[in-house]
Symmetry: C3
Subunit: 142 residues, 3 copies
């Protein structure tokens, strides 16, 4: 079984946001898959997807602290500055974390670890809504 669908994520402020529930809600056929994979692509170059700790909001806040320092907005070497000072750092952060996630499916559910959740990593100050392409593939259960 192959199924492809689009998932629209509401606009969020800059930072790291837990979106596991929203993504699963956008995959109604997930429950039919006995063994398979789901592939997610965020169709933007200044936001990204990650899989990390799903419990403590302070973890997600610390992600923002580290990334803001590691990729500074005021660095003198940026030449692509016409879309705002948060734009070029957003491209770098998006590439470091990556635009895709591929996750295992087992018995109609995501086969994640207990503490793993899907992050929308919003690297722009005002990124707007973000669109995912979700591709579901695998064996239908009996």
């Amino acid at each position: 079984m192959w199924k492809q669908t689009e998932i629209r994520l509401e606009p969020r402020p800059r930072g790291f946001h837990l979106v596991t529930r929203e993504v699963v809600a956008g995959l109604p056929q997930l429950g039919e898959i006995a063994v398979g994979l789901v592939h997610l692509l965020i169709r933007h170059t200044s936001a990204s997807l990650a899989l990390n700790e799903n419990a403590s909001p302070d973890v997600r806040r610390d992600f923002e602290s580290w990334f803001s320092r590691a990729v500074p907005e005021d660095a003198g070497y940026w030449t692509h500055t016409l879309e705002g000072s948060d734009d070029m750092p957003a491209h770098i952060k998006a590439a470091l974390l990556g635009p895709t996630l591929t996750l295992p499916v087992r018995d109609g559910e995501l086969g994640l670890g207990t503490w793993q959740g899907i992050y929308l990593c919003e690297h722009r100050d005002s990124g707007g809504p973000r669109s995912l392409v979700a591709t579901l593939m695998g064996e239908v259960g009996g």
Copy 2:
């Protein structure tokens, strides 16, 4: 053909460890696949998977040197500190390197480059055993 299995990796000290042989040993059906993919997910948020140089131990030591400096334990901006000073940096490193690897399979073997090997990247001082979900898919050979 779809096959999903769990692979348990023994506890290892903090650092970067070559685990290609262990992973392949945990995939007995790999030999049946003519053309396909294997997907690996590490079910933890403070360890990660990477694909890099499989020959020189000093490369793996230099990985640890760089990551320890790039994500410092004593930074004043961490707020998630209750699980130890190595915990929050471990989450960041795990997200930078990523929790998954998808690798090509050809004629029953991983289709890697000559110098490529699978790294378990252990970012905690005492991370304990680590668990992978391996999903094998593809066409069975004739």
Copy 3:
């Protein structure tokens, strides 16, 4: 349908290079897939693949600026130095960006966002030609 092929990328100078057109040209069966995925692996440990902004050359130049500073060649802690001062930093950069890309296919085309293009990230001064393994899978269109 499963199809695996090799794509050879011409030697390029150190930096970030847009190769979407070259990759698509190396996938003649892409047009037959109604819904599916394409998986790319670069079979090297000092070059990587990324998906980012496909319009402005200054974005790709700024990528090189940031990565050269984030992973410095003259750091005193490198021990793997026998292959040149650009070698060990190249391994780190390659792991940060990653050796693989998995992309959705829809109606015979890559399902990317408007501004997304495939980057060959060449981290060596003289990396030579680079080889990709491309695996195409999915449902053939009707």
